[in-house]
Symmetry: C2
Subunit: 394 residues, 2 copies
């Protein structure tokens, strides 16, 4: 009775649902505190202290909850554009910024604006697999391209994958699930390839940069500016991760003012933000985040979690590349079987996501945005599993 | 460079954009206080007093802003389901309720779930024309059916419009723009027709009831329960109008527990709410509205505005049906030319929306959710225009 496509999607996404069901069952059986849930990127950390203060202040103002221009409050976009200009090495104004319902809202809005039915959108492996749905929503197809063994982009492979139906390339750096930050040189090479390929196929290939983890970086690494490297770029992001407010659905997108077909692009995006039913980004949250430009939760706390986990996991014999950003470890599945390690860890009441959830089955993802007690509590289980798999001597 | 379809949409929706541009220009030229803007359903009234109090209280709690199940917090859905059960004459549980990003989010989620490419969705004229985009977003086509002269549904015409490609009928009562509430008997007849036609075409025709104005009703009229009348029904709504918080994007949908294919329908809807990029309804707003079930702004204030306008407009010779709900008057365009009256009123610095914006060109819409001073200030202009048009003797 419902759409045939949605029926199929429900079937194919049932392994993730099964995972959650198993998790819920485990929590019911053993108590929530005895299940070590690393499956979701849902920060346990509270937002920065002044977040609540500003929120309360703003909520007392009159006419705080009404409609505003679909692109968002002008003064909020002004503040966001100043912040963007300060760290993207590209001057943007409020006209180039659209406030959105999180990065998910931003990406859907952009994709609807640029996709002609049958187009493809290229994304590197591993990646956040909701992209597949987001492209399909608007008649496009996500085309996955294998990355380098160190999770860097394979620019040559991306170039080869581009054809006359390619509308855009999506990148996500720092990357979910690998924690990889693509280096400056890689971004420059990607830009060169996109310029060359755009000319070759006679069509603008947009670069969509999904940057919700940009502020969650370690070792003073700076995420290279996509806007500076490539003029046909659109940056999408949210405050979900850096302010620990993923349930509030607040983010923005910005169109490079140097983009070809700029006026149609930005006006199309504003139209699509409305007609997709988002209408506008939540009002009070817009007002609140306007005062928090450049602010984030205390990243040193994530750093401690990362370092603790890195030491422990390595000592148990697990193999991984140290994440440069995000709050994810993407660990090799011993023997290459991601479902097997996920199942073994489940026996220890540890929940992780198999790599196939990110188009790379040889790995599993640990989301370490959880309480220290969860991380510490899970170590025995990780160790026991390592022994079972022969990574560690009994 | 952008999608051809979006380019066309921008062209065709340019008359509305032009209207807003003219409005902005007028406000700049004459001062905001000298322009009488009745164009938007954006309530000037503040939310009920305890709204802000509850919002502030809730914002102090820990873990208030994280992800929750995509369908919304269980305890919020519990409270909403109790409220629905109390006024839809149908017992629903939290399992039947999905919290959404406003009614726009709810409608898109439902439409994506049920539409197979090429399907049609029937809506009566006049109606909120965003429906057209919402259907098109998911490969469906909005099929408009003429209503009765008193803005009631023409059940026979709806029956005739249904064919094998019909996935659903959308109704909106109290109706934007007409303020009409479809009577109990009409809803019963619609249900009978949908049952008969579903059998005839061998496919479930869903009834989608868009009810954001349900609490903004006058003269103790009760909006008939759609769920009680027809089991294959889905109710969508938001708190935008009754709590005066349209910018916050908070609403819900509920699937009739007696609907055919119930499990696929509700699970498909929860999936679509996620993959459309809404992910979930804004967290803090969920917590807040949970405590405000059955509460609304003071409708007697709208009632006063309605009665004042009704008396004045009638005395100037304008013809209209008294709205039973909503905060809209849908007034006959003298001579049938909606663009002419819109232009004449603009000369008096009065902004209204032509009926063609609701698929009924012989009318114009006045949104009276504005300050009394705006209504009073516009009366001279309405009178002068009436004289120009010969409705009133000089």
């Amino acid at each position: 009775m419902i759409s045939k496509k949605i029926l199929t999607m429900m079937d194919s996404s049932s392994f993730i649902r099964k995972m959650f069901e198993t998790g819920a069952k485990l929590k019911k059986e053993f108590g929530k505190e005895n299940v070590y849930d690393f499956s979701l990127g849902n920060p346990a950390m509270d937002p920065p202290e002044n977040f609540t203060q500003i929120l309360i202040e703003k909520s007392k103002d009159h006419h705080m909850h009404g409609y505003m221009p679909n692109a968002g409050y002008l003064d909020v976009r002004e503040k966001v554009s100043e912040y963007i200009s300060s760290n993207q090495k590209t001057k943007v104004t409020l006209e180039d910024v659209v406030m959105t319902s999180g990065a998910g809202g931003a990406l859907n809005t952009v994709l609807k604006t640029i996709i002609n039915s049958g187009d493809n959108i290229i994304a590197p492996i591993p990646c956040f697999m909701e992209y597949k749905f987001y492209c399909d929503n608007h008649g496009g197809e996500l085309k996955l391209v294998t990355g380098k063994p160190d999770f860097n982009l394979d620019i040559e492979a991306i170039g080869k994958a581009i054809n006359s139906k390619t509308a855009a390339v999506i990148i996500n750096s720092p990357n979910n699930p690998s924690g990889r930050i693509y280096p400056e040189e890689t971004i420059q090479n990607l830009a060169l390839t996109l310029k060359r390929k755009s000319q070759e196929i006679g069509r603008t290939i947009y670069l969509i940069s999904d940057e919700p983890y940009k502020k969650i970086v370690y070792d003073n690494i700076v995420v290279p500016s996509v806007m500076d490297a490539y003029k046909n770029s659109i940056v999408c992001t949210s405050y979900s991760k850096d302010l620990s407010i993923p349930g509030e659905r607040i983010g923005w997108l910005t169109v490079n003012p140097g983009a070809e077909d700029y006026a149609n692009l930005i006006n199309g995006i504003i139209l699509c933000n409305r007609i997709l039913g988002y209408v506008n980004a939540p009002a009070l949250m817009q007002r609140t985040i306007a005062e928090l430009q450049g602010i984030s939760v205390d990243v040193s706390l994530y750093r401690k979690k990362r370092d603790y986990l890195a030491e422990k996991l390595a000592s148990f014999g697990y193999k991984f590349r140290l994440p440069e950003g995000t709050f994810y470890f993407f660990v090799e599945a011993p023997g290459g079987d991601d479902m097997k390690i996920v199942d073994l860890l489940k026996e220890e009441r540890i929940l992780v996501v198999p790599g196939r959830g990110f188009a790379l089955p040889g790995y599993f993802r640990i989301a370490y945005c959880v309480e220290d007690s969860v991380i510490e509590g899970a170590m025995t289980g990780f160790e026991k599993t390592a022994k079972k798999l022969g990574l560690l001597q009994e």
